[in-house]
Protein backbone atom coordinates (compact mmCIF):
# COMPACT_ATOMS: atom_id res chain seq x y z
CA UNK A 1 0.00 0.00 0.00
CA UNK A 2 1.33 3.43 -0.89
CA UNK A 3 1.40 6.01 1.86
CA UNK A 4 1.47 9.75 1.33
CA UNK A 5 4.32 10.57 3.72
CA UNK A 6 3.33 14.21 3.98
CA UNK A 7 0.30 13.16 6.02
CA UNK A 8 2.41 11.47 8.62
CA UNK A 9 4.31 12.93 11.51
CA UNK A 10 6.22 9.72 12.12
CA UNK A 11 6.77 6.71 9.91
CA UNK A 12 8.99 3.72 10.37
CA UNK A 13 10.15 1.55 7.52
CA UNK A 14 11.23 -2.01 8.28
CA UNK A 15 12.59 -0.99 11.65
CA UNK A 16 14.45 -3.77 13.43
CA UNK A 17 16.44 -4.04 16.62
CA UNK A 18 18.50 -7.01 17.65
CA UNK A 19 20.40 -7.49 20.83
CA UNK A 20 22.84 -10.34 21.33
CA UNK A 21 20.86 -13.41 20.33
CA UNK A 22 17.53 -11.70 20.75
CA UNK A 23 15.35 -9.86 18.25
CA UNK A 24 13.34 -7.21 20.04
CA UNK A 25 11.84 -5.69 16.93
CA UNK A 26 11.58 -7.05 13.42
CA UNK A 27 10.60 -5.26 10.29
CA UNK A 28 8.12 -2.86 11.86
CA UNK A 29 6.53 -0.24 9.66
CA UNK A 30 4.07 2.10 11.34
CA UNK A 31 2.51 5.31 10.10
CA UNK A 32 1.30 7.93 12.51
CA UNK A 33 -0.92 10.54 10.91
CA UNK A 34 -0.74 14.14 12.04
CA UNK A 35 -3.26 14.93 14.70
CA UNK A 36 -4.03 11.32 15.49
CA UNK A 37 -4.01 9.42 18.75
CA UNK A 38 -2.05 6.30 17.88
CA UNK A 39 -2.12 3.52 20.44
CA UNK A 40 0.54 0.87 20.39
CA UNK A 41 -0.80 -2.30 21.92
CA UNK A 42 0.98 -5.49 22.83
CA UNK A 43 1.88 -7.63 25.77
CA UNK A 44 5.01 -7.25 27.88
CA UNK A 45 8.07 -7.88 25.75
CA UNK A 46 6.23 -7.26 22.48
CA UNK A 47 8.65 -4.49 21.51
CA UNK A 48 6.63 -1.36 22.25
CA UNK A 49 9.22 0.31 24.44
CA UNK A 50 12.02 -0.70 22.08
CA UNK A 51 10.19 0.96 19.20
CA UNK A 52 9.72 4.14 21.21
CA UNK A 53 13.37 4.20 22.27
CA UNK A 54 14.50 3.89 18.66
CA UNK A 55 12.31 6.77 17.58
CA UNK A 56 13.53 8.92 20.46
CA UNK A 57 17.16 8.42 19.48
CA UNK A 58 18.08 6.54 22.63
CA UNK A 59 19.04 3.47 20.65
CA UNK A 60 20.16 2.85 17.10
CA UNK A 61 18.20 0.49 14.85
CA UNK A 62 19.86 -2.64 13.57
CA UNK A 63 18.02 -2.30 10.28
CA UNK A 64 15.40 -0.11 8.71
CA UNK A 65 14.79 3.55 9.24
CA UNK A 66 12.25 6.08 10.37
CA UNK A 67 11.21 9.55 9.45
CA UNK A 68 10.29 12.16 12.06
CA UNK A 69 8.58 15.37 10.94
CA UNK A 70 9.85 14.66 7.47
CA UNK A 71 13.49 14.20 8.53
CA UNK A 72 14.91 10.74 7.97
CA UNK A 73 16.92 8.83 10.54
CA UNK A 74 20.57 9.56 9.83
CA UNK A 75 19.92 13.20 9.01
CA UNK A 76 22.36 15.35 10.96
CA UNK A 77 19.58 17.70 12.00
CA UNK A 78 17.15 15.11 13.26
CA UNK A 79 17.72 16.43 16.76
CA UNK A 80 15.79 19.53 15.66
CA UNK A 81 12.78 17.33 14.95
CA UNK A 82 13.10 15.80 18.41
CA UNK A 83 12.74 19.29 19.91
CA UNK A 84 9.13 19.14 18.75
CA UNK A 85 8.56 15.94 20.70
CA UNK A 86 7.70 15.35 24.31
CA UNK A 87 8.40 11.91 25.70
CA UNK A 88 7.96 9.78 28.77
CA UNK A 89 9.39 6.31 28.31
CA UNK A 90 9.43 3.88 31.17
CA UNK A 91 9.55 5.37 34.63
CA UNK A 92 9.68 9.16 34.81
CA UNK A 93 13.27 10.39 34.74
CA UNK A 94 13.57 12.93 37.53
CA UNK A 95 16.28 14.53 39.65
CA UNK A 96 15.35 13.38 43.16
CA UNK A 97 17.17 16.16 45.00
CA UNK A 98 15.34 18.89 43.08
CA UNK A 99 11.82 20.22 43.30
CA UNK A 100 9.19 19.73 40.60
CA UNK A 101 9.73 23.28 39.35
CA UNK A 102 13.49 22.79 39.16
CA UNK A 103 13.07 19.60 37.18
CA UNK A 104 10.89 21.54 34.76
CA UNK A 105 13.45 24.34 34.60
CA UNK A 106 16.08 21.83 33.56
CA UNK A 107 13.74 20.60 30.82
CA UNK A 108 12.89 24.11 29.68
CA UNK A 109 16.55 25.00 29.36
CA UNK A 110 17.26 21.87 27.36
CA UNK A 111 14.48 22.88 25.00
CA UNK A 112 15.98 26.34 24.72
CA UNK A 113 12.93 28.04 26.16
CA UNK A 114 13.78 31.53 27.41
CA UNK A 115 11.18 31.91 30.13
CA UNK A 116 9.88 29.81 33.02
CA UNK A 117 6.57 31.68 33.29
CA UNK A 118 4.53 28.66 32.14
CA UNK A 119 5.86 26.34 34.80
CA UNK A 120 3.22 27.07 37.50
CA UNK A 121 0.48 26.60 34.93
CA UNK A 122 1.97 23.33 33.75
CA UNK A 123 2.25 22.05 37.32
CA UNK A 124 -1.39 22.99 37.92
CA UNK A 125 -2.38 21.15 34.74
CA UNK A 126 -1.00 17.89 36.12
CA UNK A 127 -2.19 18.49 39.67
CA UNK A 128 1.14 19.33 41.26
CA UNK A 129 0.53 22.98 42.08
CA UNK A 130 0.90 22.38 45.82
CA UNK A 131 4.36 20.84 45.73
CA UNK A 132 6.41 24.02 46.06
CA UNK A 133 9.60 23.35 48.00
CA UNK A 134 9.07 19.59 48.11
CA UNK A 135 11.85 17.51 46.63
CA UNK A 136 10.97 14.82 44.17
CA UNK A 137 12.42 12.12 46.41
CA UNK A 138 9.46 12.71 48.75
CA UNK A 139 6.88 12.32 45.98
CA UNK A 140 4.55 9.35 45.70
CA UNK A 141 4.63 7.20 42.56
CA UNK A 142 1.57 8.93 41.19
CA UNK A 143 3.09 12.36 41.74
CA UNK A 144 6.27 11.29 39.98
CA UNK A 145 4.19 10.02 37.08
CA UNK A 146 2.39 13.36 36.88
CA UNK A 147 5.67 15.22 36.90
CA UNK A 148 6.95 12.95 34.14
CA UNK A 149 3.92 13.89 32.07
CA UNK A 150 4.53 17.56 32.82
CA UNK A 151 8.10 17.19 31.57
CA UNK A 152 6.79 15.62 28.40
CA UNK A 153 4.36 18.51 27.94
CA UNK A 154 7.07 21.14 28.40
CA UNK A 155 7.47 23.25 25.31
CA UNK A 156 4.02 22.37 23.90
CA UNK A 157 5.25 19.52 21.73
CA UNK A 158 3.64 18.61 18.41
CA UNK A 159 4.18 14.91 19.09
CA UNK A 160 3.74 13.38 22.50
CA UNK A 161 5.18 9.92 23.07
CA UNK A 162 4.00 8.22 26.24
CA UNK A 163 4.87 4.75 27.43
CA UNK A 164 2.32 3.47 29.97
CA UNK A 165 1.31 6.96 31.08
CA UNK A 166 -1.32 5.67 33.50
CA UNK A 167 1.08 3.54 35.53
CA UNK A 168 0.88 4.55 39.18
CA UNK A 169 -2.17 6.78 38.74
CA UNK A 170 -5.34 6.28 40.73
CA UNK A 171 -8.66 5.88 38.85
CA UNK A 172 -9.44 9.60 39.05
CA UNK A 173 -5.94 10.37 37.87
CA UNK A 174 -6.43 8.09 34.88
CA UNK A 175 -9.62 9.92 33.96
CA UNK A 176 -7.94 13.30 34.36
CA UNK A 177 -5.06 12.20 32.19
CA UNK A 178 -7.38 10.88 29.52
CA UNK A 179 -9.28 14.17 29.46
CA UNK A 180 -6.03 16.12 29.31
CA UNK A 181 -4.72 14.08 26.39
CA UNK A 182 -8.00 14.43 24.53
CA UNK A 183 -7.94 18.16 25.13
CA UNK A 184 -4.39 18.45 23.81
CA UNK A 185 -5.31 16.46 20.75
CA UNK A 186 -8.48 18.38 20.00
CA UNK A 187 -7.43 21.91 20.91
CA UNK A 188 -3.74 21.92 20.04
CA UNK A 189 -3.80 19.14 17.40
CA UNK A 190 -1.05 17.42 19.31
CA UNK A 191 -0.33 13.99 17.86
CA UNK A 192 -0.17 11.30 20.50
CA UNK A 193 1.71 8.01 20.39
CA UNK A 194 0.74 5.97 23.43
CA UNK A 195 1.94 2.53 24.39
CA UNK A 196 -0.45 1.09 26.91
CA UNK A 197 -1.85 -2.06 28.45
CA UNK A 198 -4.97 -0.35 29.70
CA UNK A 199 -7.28 -1.64 27.00
CA UNK A 200 -10.40 -0.30 28.71
CA UNK A 201 -9.22 3.29 28.31
CA UNK A 202 -7.85 3.15 24.79
CA UNK A 203 -11.09 3.02 22.81
CA UNK A 204 -12.04 6.35 24.38
CA UNK A 205 -8.82 7.89 23.12
CA UNK A 206 -7.45 6.17 20.09
CA UNK A 207 -7.97 7.07 16.48
CA UNK A 208 -5.41 4.54 15.27
CA UNK A 209 -4.00 1.29 16.57
CA UNK A 210 -0.84 -0.69 16.06
CA UNK A 211 -0.71 -4.23 17.42
CA UNK A 212 2.71 -5.62 18.24
CA UNK A 213 3.54 -9.20 19.17
CA UNK A 214 7.01 -10.68 19.64
CA UNK A 215 8.63 -7.75 17.91
CA UNK A 216 6.42 -7.85 14.83
CA UNK A 217 3.60 -5.58 13.78
CA UNK A 218 0.52 -7.76 13.50
CA UNK A 219 -1.83 -5.10 12.28
CA UNK A 220 -2.17 -1.37 11.94
CA UNK A 221 -5.59 0.16 11.47
CA UNK A 222 -7.74 3.10 12.34
CA UNK A 223 -10.50 3.07 14.92
CA UNK A 224 -13.24 2.87 12.33
CA UNK A 225 -11.73 -0.19 10.69
CA UNK A 226 -11.27 -1.76 14.09
CA UNK A 227 -14.92 -1.24 14.90
CA UNK A 228 -15.93 -2.88 11.65
CA UNK A 229 -13.47 -5.69 12.19
CA UNK A 230 -14.64 -6.49 15.69
CA UNK A 231 -16.88 -9.48 15.54
CA UNK A 232 -20.43 -9.36 16.75
CA UNK A 233 -20.98 -11.63 19.67
CA UNK A 234 -24.10 -13.19 21.18
CA UNK A 235 -23.78 -13.82 24.91
CA UNK A 236 -25.98 -16.72 25.96
CA UNK A 237 -26.88 -18.05 29.40
CA UNK A 238 -28.57 -21.44 29.33
CA UNK A 239 -29.37 -24.28 31.67
CA UNK A 240 -26.68 -26.49 30.20
CA UNK A 241 -23.98 -25.08 27.97
CA UNK A 242 -22.55 -28.45 26.95
CA UNK A 243 -25.89 -29.43 25.44
CA UNK A 244 -25.83 -26.28 23.37
CA UNK A 245 -22.37 -27.12 22.06
CA UNK A 246 -23.64 -30.13 20.14
CA UNK A 247 -26.19 -27.93 18.40
CA UNK A 248 -23.62 -25.29 17.58
CA UNK A 249 -21.13 -27.88 16.29
CA UNK A 250 -23.76 -29.31 13.96
CA UNK A 251 -24.32 -25.89 12.51
CA UNK A 252 -20.55 -25.26 12.36
CA UNK A 253 -20.82 -22.11 14.45
CA UNK A 254 -17.80 -20.51 16.18
CA UNK A 255 -18.26 -20.20 19.95
CA UNK A 256 -16.50 -20.03 23.32
CA UNK A 257 -17.65 -21.66 26.55
CA UNK A 258 -17.28 -19.39 29.56
CA UNK A 259 -18.82 -21.62 32.21
CA UNK A 260 -21.39 -24.41 32.72
CA UNK A 261 -24.13 -22.00 31.75
CA UNK A 262 -22.52 -19.22 29.74
CA UNK A 263 -21.39 -19.11 26.13
CA UNK A 264 -20.33 -16.59 23.54
CA UNK A 265 -21.21 -17.24 19.91
CA UNK A 266 -19.31 -15.39 17.18
CA UNK A 267 -20.53 -16.72 13.91
CA UNK A 268 -22.94 -14.66 11.85
CA UNK A 269 -26.21 -15.94 13.24
CA UNK A 270 -29.03 -13.72 14.34
CA UNK A 271 -30.54 -13.86 17.81
CA UNK A 272 -33.87 -14.95 16.29
CA UNK A 273 -32.32 -17.90 14.46
CA UNK A 274 -30.43 -18.95 17.55
CA UNK A 275 -33.42 -18.75 19.84
CA UNK A 276 -35.58 -20.68 17.36
CA UNK A 277 -32.93 -23.40 17.11
CA UNK A 278 -32.68 -23.69 20.89
CA UNK A 279 -36.45 -23.61 21.34
CA UNK A 280 -36.66 -26.86 19.39
CA UNK A 281 -34.59 -28.56 22.11
CA UNK A 282 -34.99 -29.01 25.87
CA UNK A 283 -32.43 -26.35 26.63
CA UNK A 284 -33.73 -23.46 28.73
CA UNK A 285 -32.56 -20.03 27.68
CA UNK A 286 -31.93 -17.83 30.73
CA UNK A 287 -30.61 -14.73 28.92
CA UNK A 288 -29.52 -13.56 25.49
CA UNK A 289 -27.68 -10.38 24.59
CA UNK A 290 -25.78 -9.12 21.60
CA UNK A 291 -22.67 -6.98 21.69
CA UNK A 292 -19.56 -6.26 19.68
CA UNK A 293 -16.25 -7.90 20.44
CA UNK A 294 -14.14 -5.50 22.45
CA UNK A 295 -10.57 -4.49 21.94
CA UNK A 296 -9.43 -7.16 24.37
CA UNK A 297 -10.97 -10.02 22.39
CA UNK A 298 -9.82 -8.50 19.13
CA UNK A 299 -6.28 -8.47 20.43
CA UNK A 300 -6.54 -12.04 21.75
CA UNK A 301 -7.76 -13.29 18.39
CA UNK A 302 -5.11 -11.32 16.58
CA UNK A 303 -2.37 -12.80 18.72
CA UNK A 304 -3.72 -16.30 18.18
CA UNK A 305 -3.59 -15.97 14.40
CA UNK A 306 -0.55 -13.70 14.53
CA UNK A 307 2.04 -16.32 13.67
CA UNK A 308 0.67 -16.70 10.20
CA UNK A 309 -0.95 -13.41 9.62
CA UNK A 310 1.54 -10.54 9.92
CA UNK A 311 0.70 -7.53 7.87
CA UNK A 312 -0.86 -4.15 7.86
CA UNK A 313 -4.34 -3.09 7.02
CA UNK A 314 -5.73 0.38 6.82
Amino acid sequence: MEYDLRKYILTTDGLSKKYRGFTALQDVSIHIPKGSVYCLIGRNGAGKTTLLRLVCGLQKPTAGSYSLFGRPYGDRDIYKSRRRMGTMIGQPALYPSMTAAENLQIQYRMLGMPSFRDIPELLALVGLENTKGLRVQTFSMGMKQRLGIALALAGSPDLLILDEPTAGLDPLGIIELRELLLKLNRERQTTLLIASHLLSELPRLATHYGFLEKGRLLRELDAHSLEEGCRKCISLTVSNSSAVCALLDDRKLSYRILSDTDLEIYSPITVTELVQALAATDIHILSVSQREEGLENYLLNLVEIGASGYGTEK
Partner: protein, 254 residues
Protein backbone atom coordinates in the same frame (compact mmCIF):
# COMPACT_ATOMS: atom_id res chain seq x y z
CA UNK B 1 25.28 25.50 25.11
CA UNK B 2 24.79 28.18 27.80
CA UNK B 3 21.54 26.55 28.83
CA UNK B 4 23.20 23.18 29.15
CA UNK B 5 25.98 24.68 31.26
CA UNK B 6 23.39 26.33 33.52
CA UNK B 7 21.70 22.96 33.92
CA UNK B 8 24.98 21.31 34.85
CA UNK B 9 25.71 24.04 37.40
CA UNK B 10 22.30 23.51 38.98
CA UNK B 11 23.00 19.80 39.17
CA UNK B 12 26.38 20.53 40.78
CA UNK B 13 24.74 22.78 43.35
CA UNK B 14 22.30 20.02 44.23
CA UNK B 15 24.88 17.25 44.13
CA UNK B 16 25.46 15.63 47.50
CA UNK B 17 28.86 14.34 46.47
CA UNK B 18 30.11 17.83 45.58
CA UNK B 19 28.78 19.28 48.83
CA UNK B 20 30.33 16.50 50.89
CA UNK B 21 33.67 16.83 49.14
CA UNK B 22 33.66 20.61 49.53
CA UNK B 23 33.04 20.47 53.26
CA UNK B 24 35.46 17.60 53.67
CA UNK B 25 38.24 19.68 52.15
CA UNK B 26 37.35 22.79 54.16
CA UNK B 27 37.15 20.99 57.48
CA UNK B 28 40.15 18.80 56.78
CA UNK B 29 42.22 21.81 55.77
CA UNK B 30 41.32 23.74 58.91
CA UNK B 31 41.83 20.79 61.24
CA UNK B 32 45.01 19.81 59.45
CA UNK B 33 46.43 23.27 59.95
CA UNK B 34 45.27 23.48 63.54
CA UNK B 35 46.64 20.17 64.70
CA UNK B 36 49.30 19.14 62.25
CA UNK B 37 50.85 22.30 60.88
CA UNK B 38 54.20 21.41 62.31
CA UNK B 39 53.87 17.69 62.62
CA UNK B 40 53.10 16.91 59.01
CA UNK B 41 55.95 18.99 57.67
CA UNK B 42 58.13 16.11 58.88
CA UNK B 43 61.49 15.99 57.22
CA UNK B 44 60.60 18.95 55.10
CA UNK B 45 60.36 21.27 58.08
CA UNK B 46 63.60 23.00 57.41
CA UNK B 47 63.19 23.28 53.71
CA UNK B 48 61.07 26.36 53.56
CA UNK B 49 59.38 24.79 50.61
CA UNK B 50 56.94 22.77 52.36
CA UNK B 51 55.19 23.93 55.44
CA UNK B 52 52.88 26.48 53.99
CA UNK B 53 53.16 25.10 50.55
CA UNK B 54 53.73 21.36 50.45
CA UNK B 55 50.70 20.89 52.57
CA UNK B 56 48.46 22.77 50.17
CA UNK B 57 49.63 20.77 47.23
CA UNK B 58 49.60 17.46 49.02
CA UNK B 59 46.29 17.96 50.73
CA UNK B 60 44.81 19.67 47.72
CA UNK B 61 45.32 16.49 45.81
CA UNK B 62 44.60 14.23 48.73
CA UNK B 63 42.05 11.56 48.18
CA UNK B 64 42.22 11.65 44.39
CA UNK B 65 39.63 8.95 44.34
CA UNK B 66 37.15 11.11 46.24
CA UNK B 67 36.76 13.10 43.06
CA UNK B 68 35.43 9.92 41.51
CA UNK B 69 32.33 10.36 43.62
CA UNK B 70 31.63 13.55 41.69
CA UNK B 71 31.97 11.72 38.39
CA UNK B 72 29.80 8.95 39.75
CA UNK B 73 27.14 11.35 40.91
CA UNK B 74 26.97 13.56 37.87
CA UNK B 75 27.61 11.08 35.08
CA UNK B 76 26.82 7.54 36.13
CA UNK B 77 23.70 8.50 38.09
CA UNK B 78 22.24 10.23 35.04
CA UNK B 79 22.12 6.82 33.42
CA UNK B 80 20.86 4.92 36.43
CA UNK B 81 18.10 7.43 37.21
CA UNK B 82 17.25 7.82 33.53
CA UNK B 83 17.55 11.60 33.30
CA UNK B 84 19.82 11.25 30.29
CA UNK B 85 16.74 10.03 28.39
CA UNK B 86 15.07 13.40 28.74
CA UNK B 87 18.05 15.18 27.26
CA UNK B 88 18.50 12.91 24.25
CA UNK B 89 14.78 12.54 23.57
CA UNK B 90 14.14 16.27 23.53
CA UNK B 91 16.75 16.92 20.90
CA UNK B 92 19.92 17.80 22.80
CA UNK B 93 22.87 16.77 20.67
CA UNK B 94 25.04 14.20 22.40
CA UNK B 95 28.17 16.16 21.56
CA UNK B 96 26.95 19.33 23.28
CA UNK B 97 25.60 17.43 26.25
CA UNK B 98 28.95 15.71 26.71
CA UNK B 99 30.90 18.95 26.35
CA UNK B 100 28.77 20.79 28.90
CA UNK B 101 29.16 17.97 31.38
CA UNK B 102 32.94 17.75 30.90
CA UNK B 103 33.37 21.51 31.27
CA UNK B 104 31.46 21.49 34.54
CA UNK B 105 33.13 18.41 35.94
CA UNK B 106 36.63 19.62 35.17
CA UNK B 107 35.70 23.07 36.40
CA UNK B 108 34.43 21.73 39.72
CA UNK B 109 37.64 19.72 40.08
CA UNK B 110 39.72 22.88 39.83
CA UNK B 111 37.29 24.67 42.15
CA UNK B 112 37.57 22.02 44.83
CA UNK B 113 41.35 21.98 44.56
CA UNK B 114 41.60 25.74 44.85
CA UNK B 115 39.16 25.71 47.77
CA UNK B 116 41.45 23.29 49.53
CA UNK B 117 44.53 25.38 48.82
CA UNK B 118 42.97 28.69 49.78
CA UNK B 119 41.33 27.43 52.97
CA UNK B 120 44.58 25.82 53.94
CA UNK B 121 46.66 28.91 53.33
CA UNK B 122 44.12 31.08 55.15
CA UNK B 123 44.07 28.73 58.11
CA UNK B 124 47.85 28.57 58.01
CA UNK B 125 48.23 32.32 58.08
CA UNK B 126 45.71 32.64 60.93
CA UNK B 127 47.17 29.92 63.14
CA UNK B 128 50.86 30.04 62.44
CA UNK B 129 51.77 32.79 60.02
CA UNK B 130 52.39 32.34 56.40
CA UNK B 131 56.19 32.56 56.54
CA UNK B 132 57.93 29.40 55.47
CA UNK B 133 60.06 27.73 58.05
CA UNK B 134 63.78 27.62 57.71
CA UNK B 135 65.56 28.78 54.62
CA UNK B 136 63.47 29.69 51.65
CA UNK B 137 64.17 27.78 48.50
CA UNK B 138 65.53 29.60 45.50
CA UNK B 139 62.84 30.74 43.07
CA UNK B 140 60.33 29.70 45.73
CA UNK B 141 57.15 31.19 44.24
CA UNK B 142 57.91 29.97 40.74
CA UNK B 143 58.21 26.47 42.12
CA UNK B 144 55.00 26.86 44.08
CA UNK B 145 53.18 27.97 40.96
CA UNK B 146 54.55 25.17 38.78
CA UNK B 147 53.88 22.58 41.45
CA UNK B 148 50.27 23.61 41.90
CA UNK B 149 49.62 23.91 38.18
CA UNK B 150 51.05 20.44 37.71
CA UNK B 151 48.88 19.15 40.55
CA UNK B 152 45.79 20.62 38.91
CA UNK B 153 46.67 19.03 35.56
CA UNK B 154 47.18 15.67 37.23
CA UNK B 155 43.87 15.99 39.03
CA UNK B 156 42.14 16.82 35.75
CA UNK B 157 43.72 13.75 34.17
CA UNK B 158 42.46 11.62 37.04
CA UNK B 159 39.02 13.13 36.75
CA UNK B 160 39.00 12.39 33.01
CA UNK B 161 39.72 8.76 33.77
CA UNK B 162 36.92 8.68 36.35
CA UNK B 163 34.54 10.21 33.82
CA UNK B 164 35.49 7.54 31.30
CA UNK B 165 34.87 4.86 33.91
CA UNK B 166 31.50 6.45 34.71
CA UNK B 167 30.42 6.35 31.04
CA UNK B 168 31.54 2.75 30.85
CA UNK B 169 29.90 1.52 34.04
CA UNK B 170 26.82 3.78 34.11
CA UNK B 171 26.39 2.95 37.79
CA UNK B 172 27.46 5.24 40.63
CA UNK B 173 28.81 2.69 43.10
CA UNK B 174 30.64 0.69 40.45
CA UNK B 175 32.24 3.88 39.12
CA UNK B 176 33.52 4.78 42.56
CA UNK B 177 34.87 1.29 43.27
CA UNK B 178 36.65 0.91 39.93
CA UNK B 179 38.10 4.42 40.20
CA UNK B 180 39.38 3.59 43.67
CA UNK B 181 40.98 0.39 42.37
CA UNK B 182 42.60 2.26 39.49
CA UNK B 183 44.06 4.83 41.89
CA UNK B 184 45.33 2.10 44.20
CA UNK B 185 46.90 0.25 41.28
CA UNK B 186 48.82 3.38 40.37
CA UNK B 187 50.00 3.82 43.95
CA UNK B 188 51.06 0.19 44.24
CA UNK B 189 53.02 0.51 40.98
CA UNK B 190 54.84 3.51 42.34
CA UNK B 191 55.52 2.23 45.84
CA UNK B 192 56.31 -1.43 45.07
CA UNK B 193 57.37 -1.77 41.48
CA UNK B 194 58.96 1.30 40.00
CA UNK B 195 59.58 4.56 41.79
CA UNK B 196 61.64 5.80 38.85
CA UNK B 197 58.86 5.51 36.32
CA UNK B 198 55.60 6.79 37.69
CA UNK B 199 52.71 6.01 35.40
CA UNK B 200 49.46 7.57 36.54
CA UNK B 201 48.63 10.91 38.09
CA UNK B 202 48.83 9.71 41.69
CA UNK B 203 52.29 8.23 41.30
CA UNK B 204 53.50 11.35 39.49
CA UNK B 205 52.15 13.43 42.36
CA UNK B 206 54.15 11.38 44.86
CA UNK B 207 57.26 11.79 42.77
CA UNK B 208 56.69 15.54 42.76
CA UNK B 209 56.51 15.40 46.52
CA UNK B 210 59.89 13.65 46.57
CA UNK B 211 61.30 16.36 44.34
CA UNK B 212 60.12 18.98 46.77
CA UNK B 213 62.30 17.47 49.49
CA UNK B 214 65.37 19.65 48.99
CA UNK B 215 66.26 22.91 47.33
CA UNK B 216 68.39 21.18 44.70
CA UNK B 217 65.84 18.51 43.79
CA UNK B 218 63.07 21.08 43.62
CA UNK B 219 65.00 22.78 40.78
CA UNK B 220 63.80 19.90 38.60
CA UNK B 221 60.34 21.42 38.76
CA UNK B 222 61.54 24.29 36.64
CA UNK B 223 63.36 22.16 34.10
CA UNK B 224 61.80 21.32 30.73
CA UNK B 225 62.23 17.64 31.62
CA UNK B 226 59.52 18.03 34.24
CA UNK B 227 56.95 18.18 31.46
CA UNK B 228 58.00 14.70 30.35
CA UNK B 229 57.06 13.47 33.78
CA UNK B 230 53.55 14.82 33.35
CA UNK B 231 53.16 13.67 29.77
CA UNK B 232 51.94 10.08 30.31
CA UNK B 233 49.25 11.29 32.73
CA UNK B 234 48.13 14.06 30.43
CA UNK B 235 47.93 11.62 27.54
CA UNK B 236 45.94 9.25 29.71
CA UNK B 237 43.55 12.08 30.53
CA UNK B 238 43.10 13.06 26.89
CA UNK B 239 42.57 9.48 25.76
CA UNK B 240 40.08 8.93 28.58
CA UNK B 241 38.01 11.88 27.39
CA UNK B 242 38.09 10.69 23.79
CA UNK B 243 37.04 7.19 24.81
CA UNK B 244 34.32 8.59 27.08
CA UNK B 245 32.92 10.64 24.21
CA UNK B 246 32.89 7.68 21.85
CA UNK B 247 31.18 5.53 24.48
CA UNK B 248 28.51 8.15 24.97
CA UNK B 249 28.06 9.00 21.30
CA UNK B 250 27.74 5.49 19.95
CA UNK B 251 26.21 3.43 22.69
CA UNK B 252 22.54 2.70 23.15
CA UNK B 253 20.97 4.29 26.18
CA UNK B 254 18.76 1.74 27.90
Amino acid sequence: MNNLLKNELLKLKRSKSVKVLFWYFVIYSILGTLFFHRADAGSFERSGFSAPFLTFAMHGSSGFFFYASVAAGLVANEFSQGTIHNAISCGVERRRYFLSKICCLLGVTVFLYLTNVLVRSLAQSIFSSFDPYGILYSRYWQKVLVYNLAAILLLLSSMSLFICIAYLCRRGVMTFVISLLATDADLIWYSRISRDKPVGPVSVMWQMLDMAGTDSSSDRLLEPGFLLLLLPSLCMGAISLIVAYQLFKRADIN
